[in-house]
Symmetry: C2
Subunit: 215 residues, 2 copies
């Protein structure tokens, strides 16, 4: 389709920066595909590591661990939010869980149709089944279930180029001013938190803009 100036019209886009260890990212991973479809917005999946960002901001752990009061609240809030969205929920016995391996796998799938289902399954491992998610024996079966070549993908995920890509994506997150997850970008407009997913999608569909490059 062309716009009024005769230029091919770009579909509206939303950048979705997420982390498998992040409980509020869980809510967005489970909701974003359906919601984005409803607004005719294309998702640009951006897995990144939150730990180095927190450390760079002077925090040695998640704020939900460092701030006792906020931490206590978050689990009460998560139970209610999951009820509201109709999602299953188990408070993880380890928090935050390391998810470097699945983030590397996700990087390989950002343009593939399996990215949404894969991310959903990893999130459920952490926040529904209360299981670790950083080992090949935990991630492999998910890939196999999705009909994907698990061994090849796990090898590629653990190769140096993929490791470098995840480090670079995390540095980019830092340069974009990201301080938590999930974070959404529509053009240069940043939206923080699952609570802003709907606002971000409305903004994207109303402005019909893509995503600004940050170098």
């Amino acid at each position: 389709m062309n716009d009024a100036t005769g230029q091919p019209q770009q579909p509206a886009k939303i950048e979705f920066w997420f982390e498998f260890g992040s409980n509020y990212s869980y809510l967005s991973v489970m909701r974003i595909e359906q919601e984005a479809r409803r607004h005719s917005v294309r998702i640009v999946w951006k897995p990144f590591l939150l730990g180095p960002i927190f450390r760079d901001l002077g925090m040695e752990n998640s704020p939900f661990v460092l701030q006792k009061e906020k931490g206590a609240y978050v689990w009460q809030d998560m139970a209610r939010q999951c009820r509201k969205y109709g999602l299953r929920w188990t408070k993880p016995t380890t928090f935050p869980r390391l998810g470097v391996l699945p983030l590397r796998v996700a990087l390989l799938g950002v343009d593939k149709p399996w990215i949404g289902p894969f991310c959903g399954r990893v999130m459920e491992l952490n926040f529904v089944l209360d299981q670790e998610m950083n080992q090949p024996e935990q991630i492999g079966p998910i890939l196999t279930d999705l009909g994907l070549p698990a061994t090849d993908l796990l090898n590629e995920a653990q190769s140096e180029p993929t490791k470098t890509r995840l480090r670079e994506q995390t540095s980019l997150a830092r340069r974009k001013g990201i301080f938590g997850a999930p974070t959404f970008f529509v053009g240069s407009e940043m939206f923080w938190g699952n609570d802003r997913l709907d606002d971000a999608l409305v903004f994207a569909s109303e402005h019909k803009i893509g995503v600004a490059p940050v170098c």
Copy 2:
């Protein structure tokens, strides 16, 4: 009205803990009366001081000042949120502004019909007109405009019993686990942030419960 057990039915209640210096409290102050009416929920106004709570949690200032990245984001978010709710908005040149005097005045009005309009006017002083709000010459005209005896109320607000009441209310906030504003309580369920106002009201009207005492 009586419930099924023949007991007089209590109206559903929401406790609204707020601070005039808090920008997200501004959003809730401007929205809560209309929204609470829509859900048939009674508001229990709870003005308190956020500064001592932050200090108690090891923060010497608002997190929006201490965390540069989050601070930069908050003003972008506020402009969009105000647009969404149809509220006027000016980024305050001083943040956070001291609002001890109007909080003390608000304490005198918690059961009065002028509490909502008064709080709205003080919030607009800070977040629309970008003016100080901690002196009698700033608060007096608001009281007069509302048809209230400004001199008497200002004197009572600055009396020792009212000062003590605000200190005690702030200690109570701390004991209830409050770590930011606005915070809502429905019974013992805590809801943090303007983003949870609607959830809290739905919860209150569905559960038809009041507010649990914390001593």
